[in-house]
């Protein structure tokens, strides 16, 4: 991230910046509160790949309050530039977004989404994509509210084992 971006939230000023390894514990804790599963190994791997390597095209951003990380993180978003898979021109992919359930409806998710789009724009990317489970109305409604619509690809799958 070239500079820390700040967005006004109804309660106070929100700071959005790149995640560092110092945030690992808070990220694992936030994710566990939302999903009910603590996934330290998974997040360690995500930090290694998205917060440390090829960071010109990989973005792991966190939102925190004006007092910094002491109060815990308010939310996170992870994305990267990917290109030429499935015949697609390079575009930005968002594959994780989470907001502290106690701090929802305060514009934190929107601020994270906008910050990620800014990162993509700064590296010349013109389109952002994500994938959402059809039944996940919370994320579907959020991304729709941000102006996202169905893209040109349809995901297909087939069971390889009966049952």
């Amino acid at each position: 991230m070239s500079k820390n971006s700040e967005e006004k939230s109804p309660e106070n000023v929100l700071r959005i910046r790149r995640a560092t390894s110092d945030h690992l514990e808070q990220v694992v804790e936030l994710d566990a509160r939302i999903t009910g599963k603590s996934k330290l190994d998974y997040w360690q791997d995500i930090f290694e790949r998205y917060a440390a390597r090829r960071i010109d095209q990989r973005f792991f951003l966190i939102a925190e309050g004006p007092e910094g990380g002491d109060a815990g993180i308010f939310g996170l978003i992870v994305g990267e530039v990917r290109g030429w898979e499935f015949g697609s021109e390079p575009c930005g992919w968002i594959f994780a977004i989470s907001v502290d359930p106690d701090r929802r409806q305060q514009g934190i998710g929107e601020a994270l989404f906008k910050a990620m789009c800014d990162e993509f724009r700064q590296v010349g990317i013109k389109k952002v994509r994500t994938m959402v489970r059809r039944q996940n109305t919370l994320h579907m409604s959020f991304f729709r509210g941000e102006g996202m619509m169905a893209g040109p690809f349809i995901q297909l799958e087939k069971k390889l084992i009966d049952g």
Binding site: S141, R144, G145, A150
Partner: protein, 152 residues
Amino acid sequence: MQQSSRLAIYALIELASNPDSQISAAEIGAKYRVSAHHLAKVLMTLGRAGLVQSVRGVGGGYTFTGNAKRLNLDEIISLFQDTTTSCKLADPSEATDEEWVLFDVSNEINDIARSTYSSITIQTLLKQVERRQSAKSRAKENAPEAGDLPVT
């Protein structure tokens, strides 16, 4: 989507974008080129669902009483048509493999349609309308004036 569902969504967009106004069925009908009579029936259904309220008398009309941030298209469409399945098996115990295969395909399409409708709220539609209007005004501002010579 059936016409009544479409009209209901147009009416709700119109009313939700003017929360402080009372708008008549005739005004909404004129904008969307549909009969006020047909629209009145649709508005009655929306009224029974608690989404609009009618105010009688001079200057009367309808007001939006729902929650634009929460009300999604599937909830609106469900008031006018059965959205649970797009293809019915008359008697599942008698259905052939061919009928089951077509039933599965129809259900797949219906699932996608329903999840799309469920994820789009009236507020999201209002935002899309705003984006479209902004894009149109930008295009108009950038368009060359009539009589301008092309730059060569």
